[in-house]
């Protein structure tokens, strides 16, 4: 039995979780505490890094105390401490990682700096038996990637977005339709009364090989359609939201289908598709992926919504998996670990030239 505390502060959620990993590899979530900063950022129309950093340092210790209390354990009981060390907003990552360093040092316990994307990549195994290998579709406000997961620490990136992340596209589209934030849930509820077929939005990257994603053209198409209407009524907005959501869902499913082609030969008789990240909570997207998985004979695994969005339990779990696999730095190395704004989980596929950015790949 290994008892692990996980701390997550990479965006606008201050989170801590306590999990126990049983010798058979099963996970027991003892506590999962998230303090959402949403209200503090709302006036600015998006996450403000300095406000996020200030909020994390104000609460992270209390969130940790709350999680430990809920778990029924004291810090001395812990076998290890895990914390998100990147990628993310550096001011927040610094706060959570530093607090975790202090707790690990205080009890001479291993400290595991966790890649936030690895937290999402392994999150399906928090609540379900999801044996390796599996295909991971990671869709969140900051990331959109398809990754072949062969084991803990063994990731191969098959594709990723060349412009906006999926969640970012929902946020931007919600904003231009005047639906407010957070964009995902707002578009989803607006789309309920909408007719997707009224607008024919172009399918992104329809003739492009591989399984990269693109969302910025789709967002522009929605803007142009809205401008053509002039002053959209509630029904226009509902129809546009439905069309956007349906096209985004179809795009995600189409590219995931291509990734299935790439790995199917190696995945055996019971291939699995895992979807993680906040956008996985969207029902239309889940339905499109379910249809794809059923049609292809794959098993679809989607963690419960609270483990799709940022949380401390998944970071604790990634730490526990690393500990079990022997992939843990010495305490001295971990105490000196520098928080990282950018930290790709896996290198981009060979031949990928676009989307690097001045400081290299973002994630």
């Amino acid at each position: 039995m290994t008892l692990v505390l996980g701390v997550e502060t990479s965006c606008d959620d201050t989170a801590a979780g306590v999990i126990r990993r049983r010798p058979d590899g099963a996970c027991e979530i003892l506590a999962d505490v998230v303090w959402r900063q949403y209200d503090r950022h709302a006036p600015y129309g998006g996450v403000v890094p300095e406000i996020a950093a200030r909020s994390h340092v104000e609460r992270v210790d209390q969130v940790i105390v709350h999680a430990l209390e809920k778990s029924g354990h004291i810090p001395a009981d812990l076998d290890a401490v895990a914390a998100t060390a990147g990628p993310g907003l550096i001011g927040g990552v610094m706060v959570g990682l530093t607090a975790a360093k202090a707790i690990a040092l205080a009890h001479d316990k291993p400290l595991i700096p966790v890649n936030h994307l690895e937290g999402h990549a392994l999150s399906a195994r928090l609540t379900e038996a999801a044996p390796f290998p599996y295909l991971l579709l990671l869709i969140s406000g900051g990331h959109t990637q398809l990754i072949a997961v062969a084991g803990v620490g063994r990731y191969r990136r098959l594709g990723s977005t060349i412009d906006d992340a999926a969640g970012e596209a929902f946020d931007k589209t919600a904003k231009l339709l005047g639906l407010g934030q957070p964009g995902g849930p707002r578009i989803e509820s607006a789309a309920v009364g909408g007719r997707a077929s009224r607008f024919r939005l172009p399918a992104p990257l329809a003739r492009r090989e591989g399984c990269d994603f693109s969302f910025s053209g789709l967002k522009t198409a929605v803007r142009l359609a809205a401008e053509e209407i002039g002053t959209p009524t509630g029904q226009d907005v509902a129809d546009l939201a439905a069309a956007f959501q349906a096209t985004a869902a179809a795009h995600l499913a189409a590219r995931t289908g291509r990734a299935m082609d790439m790995v199917e030969a190696d995945f055996g008789a019971d291939p699995r598709l895992v979807v993680a990240g906040g956008v996985a909570a969207n029902c239309a997207i889940k339905a499109a992926l379910k249809e794809l998985a059923d049609r292809r004979g794959w098993r679809l695994i989607v963690p419960p919504p609270k483990y799709c969005t940022d949380n401390g339990a998944m970071i604790a779990w990634a730490g526990a998996e690393r500990l079990a696999a022997g992939l843990v730095p010495s305490l001295a190395e971990a105490l000196a670990f520098a928080p990282r704004a950018r930290w790709p989980l896996a290198p981009p596929p060979p031949g990928r030239a676009h989307g690097g950015g001045r400081k290299g790949p973002k994630a």
Binding site: C11, R54, M94, V95, T98, A106, A336
Partner: protein, 246 residues
């Protein structure tokens, strides 16, 4: 390493071991004070990167003192004003240590820590002034017992000098900190180089040791609002900064 039992554990006046930390300005420092006597001290000049230096430095300082982190009874930390990121690293560490071991974390301002480095005999009053960049300084005025006469504030250097003079009411002031020079020539009778530019973590430990039991965890003293504009311009800044994973 198992906790080293205090040899007088349980005695009426048992020892008090205080860890002092500073990451607020251009250095990273840790010091350990035992019953008012310095045990170990480490400091390195550092503009940025406190998040990777502080924890190993604390571990090294504890080892030099022959102590484990669980021997610490109280942690004192500089809460600012200073660099926002530096202040947060110090506070996150101190508060993490506090919740990890059940000890108290006590906040000390950078200005009080600097003023503590001024010899008491030099003048009846002491002021610390720190270069806050963007054409401003952080400043505060204290009496000989380090009781604030003027609480920490941020202002243009000439405005800061005027406020310090008003509050001093004609008494001589000894100055410390790298914000003294930007204020221009010191008034007659004042001592411009009364103390250090660099915070001594041992002074932080001493101030924390003498402080009353805190009612709440220490919080940052920024003295400046976050750089953020409502709505449009700032929209999506966070998501973009986080990266869309190309």
């Amino acid at each position: 390493m198992p906790a080293l039992p205090n040899d007088d554990f349980g005695a009426k006046d048992r020892t008090m071991i205080v860890l002092g930390l500073d990451t607020a300005l251009k250095a990273c420092s840790a010091a350990i004070l035992k019953d008012g006597a310095p045990l170990a001290r480490t400091s390195a000049p550092l503009e940025r990167g406190h998040a990777e230096r502080l924890a190993p430095m604390v571990a090294g300082t504890l080892a030099a003192a022959g102590l484990s982190a669980r021997d610490i009874d109280r942690v004192g930390v500089v809460v600012g004003p200073g660099t926002f990121a530096g202040v947060r690293v110090g506070l996150a560490f101190a508060r993490g240590l506090a919740v990890g071991t059940g000890i108290e974390a006590v906040g000390v301002t950078s200005l009080a820590a600097l003023a503590a480095g001024i010899a008491t005999a030099t003048a009846p009053l002491r002021a610390a002034v720190i270069d806050a960049r963007r054409g401003q300084v952080y400043a505060a005025l204290y009496d000989a017992a380090l009781v604030p006469r003027l609480e920490p504030f941020v202002a243009a250097p000439e405005e800061a000098l005027r406020r310090l003079m008003d509050a001093a009411g004609g008494a001589a002031v000894a100055l410390a900190g790298d914000g003294v020079a930007p204020m221009g020539p010191a008034p007659k009778g004042w001592i411009a180089e009364g103390g250090p530019d660099v915070i001594d973590a041992m002074a932080v430990a001493r101030l924390a040791a003498g402080a009353a039991r805190p009612e709440a965890p220490p919080a940052p003293l920024y003295l400046r609002p976050p750089d953020a504009r409502p709505a449009a311009a700032a929209a999506f800044a966070g998501l973009l900064a986080r990266g869309d994973a190309p």
